[in-house]
């Protein structure tokens, strides 16, 4: 089992969630984060000046999944989180080993509990 953490742009969240659903990954956890701004693209406006803020809004996805779902999940994220042909700021995916996974509802653990 692996724990995938993906940092994406907020405007792609809906698309990523739908892509994951198509890849049969239904259970995810989402949270707000901020990341270093991409210095070049789509700046925000502040009283007539385009500014690239130091920290920009990001979304953080956590997906625990069994090994065979890792590549489909990554592909789904890659396909939906990219702007155009890929822009700085599109994000990162991190994969760490997951030793145990426990479903609180039933107490069961292991691959079935994902």
């Amino acid at each position: 089992m692996k724990l995938i953490t993906a940092i994406i742009q907020p405007d792609t969240l809906d698309a990523v969630r739908e892509a994951l659903l198509r890849a049969d990954v239904t259970r995810i956890t989402v949270s707000r984060a901020s990341g270093r701004a991409r210095p070049d693209a789509s700046p925000e406006l502040f009283r007539g000046t385009a500014v690239a803020p130091a920290l920009q809004a990001r979304v953080r996805l956590e997906i625990a999944c069994n090994d065979e779902f890792v590549d489909p999940a990554i592909d789904a994220i890659l396909s939906a989180a990219r702007h155009g042909d890929g822009e700085t700021g599109d994000g990162k995916i991190f994969v760490v080993p997951l030793e145990r996974c426990i479903r609180i509802r039933t107490g069961e653990s292991g691959p079935d509990a994902i």
Binding site: T12, L13, P43, E44, L45, L55, Q56
Partner: protein
């Protein structure tokens, strides 16, 4: 200026205050609506109200007031008085009520601002800002101003219908029914938001919505009690029924929810307050507190039902503009007939020099409502098609997913959510 009536400083004071109070409704509405959409659309939604302030605020002074309150032209379809462009002819004019015409023009202007801002709730979260701006300008010219002329100008045909006119004290038809039907048509024409109704969409800030409802209540005192263009008994009557109806509407919705779901919600209380305020708007000049309580309870109940029906029919009137403003507005304009003060009825009867009964007035009210629904609905549809095909009205799918704040305005509502 010789010969002009003297200024009544008291009446003028109240009309100035009313104008400020109605203005307060615009941020109030922005908060009410802004809190109900998803986080990514909060600024765009609030801007719909603020853009109406800017656009219609200028239009009204340039030509709107001249169209609404000038004498009939084009067979009464609209009014026109070129001297009132930029309010020039009003610069030193005192009206018979003892109020400078400027104040009346500004008070009325606020109604012209808030009506398109109300519509915006129906197609929230999926409209282009540019298209919205063009749409509301055209709508103000072609829908609002004629309706306003018909109902409130002294030579407007609805003002003169029946014995003493179609009763619309403060804008039940002109403001709420017209906005309600326009919203319904727009929601149907533009189609649902991406994911509706499968995905439930969360209000981003019910706290703000609740505060917005509070400010709307306060502002509505100006809206209704200012519509008497006086500071006297009639003003007091209008204020009283407005207060009672708001309270009764909120209470009724609370009880309905408690009966239906076993618990009351803050959005429910806010919606009921709104329904009560809308229903009393046409009626505030003619009904008494008891009637106001009944009307408000009816409005809450029927609006509640209308929203349940909408959810069945699965069209996406995002913030229930038709469900609340349209439906409660119709309830008010029609059912007020059964609660009219006796003195009004006998005055109406003596006006026609004979008898004038509830049923007579009912037909007049139904005519007013029907004409508003048909005219506003049809012209709105035409404008939607026009704007959509030219400037573009519906947001792109990508823009909708990213949210209006990002895609249309390049901003973020709550920077505080970013750490640091």
């Amino acid at each position: 200026m010789q010969g002009s009536p003297p200024v009544d400083s008291g009446t003028t004071a109240w009309m100035l205050t009313s104008t400020a109070l109605v203005l307060l409704m615009v941020p109030g509405l922005a908060m009410f609506y802004g809190g109900l959409v998803r986080t990514k659309n909060v600024l765009g939604t609030m801007l719909h109200s603020f853009a109406a302030m800017a656009l219609i605020g200028v239009f009204w002074v340039v030509a709107g007031y001249a169209m609404a309150f000038g004498p009939n032209v084009l067979g009464g379809w609209i009014g026109w008085n070129g001297d009132l462009m930029f309010l020039e002819a009003a610069d030193a004019k005192i009206m018979d009520e003892g109020v400078p015409e400027y104040v009346f023009a500004m008070f009325q202007g606020k109604f012209a601002i808030i009506t398109p801002a109300i519509i915006a709730g129906a197609f929230a979260e999926r409209v282009r800002f540019r298209g919205y701006c063009v749409f509301i300008c055209l709508w103000a010219v072609l829908v609002y101003t004629p309706l306003c002329h018909w109902v409130w100008a002294s030579d407007g045909f609805l003002f003169n219908l029946g014995a003493a006119g179609a009763i619309d004290f403060a804008g039940g038809t002109v403001v709420h029914i017209s906005a309600g039907i326009a919203g319904l048509v727009a929601a149907l024409y533009l189609g649902a938001r991406r994911g509706y109704p499968g995905t439930a969409m969360h209000p981003n800030n019910l706290v703000m919505t609740l505060i917005g409802a509070g400010l709307l209540w306060v502002g509505w005192f100006g809206f209704n009690a200012g519509s008497a263009i006086a500071s006297d008994l009639q003003t007091a009557q209008a204020l009283t029924v407005t207060q009672v109806a708001a309270a009764a509407g909120g209470l009724a919705w609370m009880l309905i929810e408690a009966a239906h779901h076993g618990r009351a919600t803050s959005l429910g209380v806010a919606s009921g307050i709104l329904a009560g305020l809308v229903v009393i708007t046409p009626a505030a000049g003619v009904v008494q507190p008891k009637g106001a309580i009944v009307l408000a309870a009816l409005a809450s109940a029927i609006s509640y039902g209308a929203i349940l029906v909408k959810n069945r029919l699965r069209y996406d009137d995002t913030l229930d503009v038709f469900g609340i403003h349209g439906v409660s507005g119709i309830v008010g304009a029609v059912f007020l007939t059964f609660f009219i003060r006796d003195s009004w009825m006998s005055a109406a009867a003596s006006e026609v020099g004979g008898s004038w009964g509830m049923l007579d007035q009912l037909w007049v009210q139904l005519a007013g409502v029907g004409i508003t629904l048909v005219y506003a609905g049809a012209v709105t549809l035409g404008l939607l098609v026009l704007v959509d095909k030219t400037v573009g009205l519906r947001l792109s799918e990508k823009g909708e997913m990213a949210g209006m704040d990002h895609s249309e305005h390049g901003e973020q509502g709550y920077g505080m959510l970013n750490a640091g």
